[in-house]
């Protein structure tokens, strides 16, 4: 059976993310924009060899933020 490779790759994914990032900036959804910006950066840093490690403080930061939002 012939397999057609999917039309998606890192470039495609980053381009789509960028579109949403631009929308988030334009609509003043700045927190979303930062998260998307970080996602784009993660794509750029992740070479696919499983060596990408998100920094620990930021992960804790987000956990704290989610905990605070839950408590509200």
């Amino acid at each position: 059976m012939r397999r057609t490779p999917p039309p998606y790759d890192d470039k495609w994914a980053i381009a789509r993310l960028r579109e949403v990032w631009e929308w988030a900036v334009a609509t003043n959804r700045h927190f979303v924009a930062y998260l998307l910006g970080m996602a784009i950066l993660a794509f750029e840093l992740d070479t696919g060899d499983r060596k990408f490690k998100p920094s620990q403080p930021r992960a804790t930061d987000m956990a704290e933020h989610l905990a605070q939002t839950k408590n509200k």
Binding site: W21, V25, N28, H30, F31, A33, Y34, G37, M38, I40, L41, L45, S55, P57, R58, D61, M62, H65, Q68
Partner: protein, 207 residues
């Protein structure tokens, strides 16, 4: 006690300026290990000019606890000169927008009231000088926490790695509403700036 200083060469507060440059050396060169110029234990650069404005928080013993530097964006400023690639929009260049750099705070004081005082002093200074926007290069981690504190920051570009840490250019408003919100957040009741050191020429003009 927060003091506002106009001018890196202000002759009326040479001692305080020297203390601030020494404090910056301690923080940025010794503690953070930044590869920047320093001179005999003082850290200053081409953006410390007679037009640069500083807010400096001094502790009870007369030592600098925290400081930050504001540069008018119609003058040469670091973001435009060195980090222009971090912008994906027009670089601000006007008298109503400051660039914030060299935010320095002693390590042992980072959970003390000095941080809140410096933030309020910055907003008070902006109202005083008719400045309504600020921009700067921040670590994403710091900016995220500032947004959680209520800062209405807008990214001006994509985050990029600098010294192994993601940084992003951001801009945010400086206005009375922000000042009220920041005062409430840090439980400050009134103005924090206690002394303003203008440059002698400005004082003469004001008189």
């Amino acid at each position: 006690m927060v003091q506002l200083i106009v001018g890196a060469t202000n002759p009326t507060c040479r001692v305080l300026l020297a203390k601030m440059f020494r404090h910056r050396y301690e923080i940025f060169v010794k503690e953070k290990g930044w590869d920047i110029k320093s001179y005999n234990g003082l850290e200053f650069d081409q953006y410390d000019t007679p037009e640069t404005i500083y807010v400096v928080d001094v502790d009870g013993d007369g030592n600098v606890a925290a400081s930050t530097r504001m540069v008018y964006t119609d003058q040469p400023f670091m973001l435009a000169d060195i980090f222009s690639h971090m912008f994906e929009c027009e670089i601000p260049r006007n008298r109503e927008c400051w660039e914030l750099t060299r935010g320095a705070m002693s390590k042992h004081l980072r959970r003390s009231g000095h941080y809140g005082r410096i933030q309020c002093a910055l907003l008070e200074a902006a109202l005083l000088f008719g400045v309504n926007k600020a921009c700067g290069l921040f670590s994403v981690e710091l900016l995220m926490s500032k947004i959680r504190f209520g800062l209405d920051a807008k990214p001006l570009g994509q985050p990029q790695m600098i010294d192994g840490e993601p940084h992003v250019a951001a801009g945010f408003p400086l206005n009375g509403e922000m000042l009220e919100r920041t005062r409430a957040l840090f439980k400050l009741k009134g103005p924090v700036i206690e002394h303003i050191h203008t440059m002698p020429a400005q004082r003469k003009a004001a008189a």
